[in-house]
């Protein structure tokens, strides 16, 4: 039996981070949370998918994705953000993002995207 997929969640906001983790948990998906990109990158190899905020004080989501790609990782990245900035969205997708969600999340769509990525 193969190892169940593991999802990483990066967000500097505790409440948002935990809410996403719990949503994944109710659907039987395992997730770990990180409050900064630096903390996540040091353990990135353990994860099958990344859910990240865009604007954060340490590294922003775009930069985390860039470093993953630079390190040769093809890990699917899903952005969840309050920002409606179109430029940032384009940069994220150009950098290889698989999905982009605005906060607050619509649970069904978000979960469908996660499942599609992990399939």
């Amino acid at each position: 039996m193969s190892k169940p997929p593991l999802i990483a969640i990066v967000d500097d906001d505790d409440a948002v981070r935990e809410a996403i983790r719990d949503l994944l948990q109710v659907e039987g998906l395992a997730a770990r949370t990180f409050e900064s990109g630096t903390a996540f990158l040091s353990a990135a190899e353990h994860f099958d998918c990344l859910v990240t905020d865009v604007r954060m004080p340490d590294l922003d989501g775009i930069e985390i994705q860039r470093r993953l790609r630079a390190g040769g990782s093809a890990m699917p990245v899903i952005f969840v953000t309050s920002s409606a900035d179109e430029n940032t969205r384009v940069r994220a997708l150009q950098g290889g993002a698989v999905a982009w969600f605005a906060k607050p999340l619509t649970d069904a769509t978000f979960l469908a995207a996660i499942r599609a990525v992990l399939r």
């Binding site: 906001d13 409440a15 948002v16 935990e18 809410a19 996403i20 719990d22 949503l23 109710v26 659907e27 604007r55 954060m56 004080p57 922003d60 309050s82 920002s83 906060k103 607050p104 999340l105 649970d107």
Partner: protein, 561 residues
Amino acid sequence: MASGAPLADMPALPDASEPGDAEMRRFDAACWALDISGVRTLIAAAAAGTARSDWPETLLVGVRIADVNQRTVHLVGPYLGRAHMIGRAAATFWPREGRPALAELIVSVAMAETAGTPASRTITSVGFIDPLLHVWRAPDDARPDIVYVALTGTPVDDRSLWALRASEERYRNLIHHLPTALLQVDSTPMSAIFAKLRLEGVDDIASYLDANPEMSVHSRNIVLVTDANHKAMRLFGADHPDQLIGSVDYLFVASPDTAKRVITAHFEGRRSYAERIKLRRFDGRLRDVELSVTYPTPPERLDVTLLSLEDLTDRLQTEAQLHQLQADYTRAARISMLGELATSIAHEVNQPLSAIVTNAETSLRWLSRDEPNLAKVRQLTTRIAESGRRASDIVQRIRGMAARREPERVRVDLNAIVEEALLFVRYEIESRAVEVSVSLARELPRVLGDRVQLQQVIVNLLVNAVQAIGQTGGAGRIELRTAKGGDGTVRFTLHDNGPGIAEGNLDRIFGSFFTTKDEGIGIGLALCQSIIVAHGGTITASNHAEGGAVFEFALPARGAA
């Protein structure tokens, strides 16, 4: 003799160089030559009994001084000199109480068929013992328009008692026409009371008055207003000066405690006392007034205590309007600032809302299972409540920034204000990848101030710093620090690594409408300064030795942390 010469230089009387004609030397006395040419009609009317009742006064205003001898100058006009008396109205120098007698004698002499014989009359004291007034025309009517006047008797005072009277008259005139409301008060009854109290060993009059409130009431009744000027009449809305004469009680109706303090200052031997009081006019309206009391000390007349009342109502209203205008302006700037920070604020509110929505949806998923996981739902509901409160707190703070309210002065913690201010600009800071380090002093004393306005200052400084850093393009850094100043102040310092302030702009950076931004209107820093100054503090701008700008403000510390 030159006019205005000092008294000591006056020649002994009588003097050989005495001016005037022979008639002026008929009596060894104060002599006048009065020109009655301008009042002939009035003299005739007075003689016929058809003149108005106040004709003596009118007559002496119309009678001009043609000449006076040195003795008259000495008695009446030493400050003016003879030259300046000539040509002026007799009424200017003749004491009020002697005027009817003089006027009547002038009429009788002017109407008499024969000239030369003086008409004489004893008059009530005008500075002489047994004063006798003599009025006559020259024997041959050589000068038909001239009436001579002499006043004999022993002067009560070798110096000029009439001059003293004139001086008092001038003083009364001055007092009555001063633009400040004045009450002349006889507080001599208080001297007896004070003496008695001292005999009884009372030395702390304030405590005594607190313990014996009836004493203040009694004093307000026995101390009398003896005179009031026109302005005082107007201030109280009196129709007649008599309405102000009598017990001083009416002055303290709206500020009863003031009487205690006025008595205390008097008892303690102070020269004057002043305070701002509420004054009730006779029509019931209240006015804000600055009351100043000047207590007499010898050789001044001890029955003359002067109270001046300056009406501040209009000024205070203007000040209040100005204050309101400033508050409105400050608020408008805050709302404008909130507008600039809308994205940042929206982000701050959206975070907890986002958590709430996701937690609620997750809860529904747990509940819709065949076996609902109530423990999970309980945990998520708790988090929903927490996030809801957080969102509400943020909204409250924004509302606080936007609300129309009176600036307040309460003890506030500057550290907390810095943290709250950061909330408004966190998104700006993060979106521009600016690194902020915050170093808050422990046990920082509180300051007395308005939380919202101080937050406004810090947010303003932060936004400026973030924008300044944006001009450099490098990695931004802002250091915020609070500290206890050695001079009893609490200090806030912001140091950024932006381009700093051009040397030529350092002096005018806090001026209104000074800006280096393309879209700025230059009110931010001016407003920061006016807020800090209104808090009794100071704000400075400088360039750091290692680059970047430093903004620092200091506020007076008020009490422990």
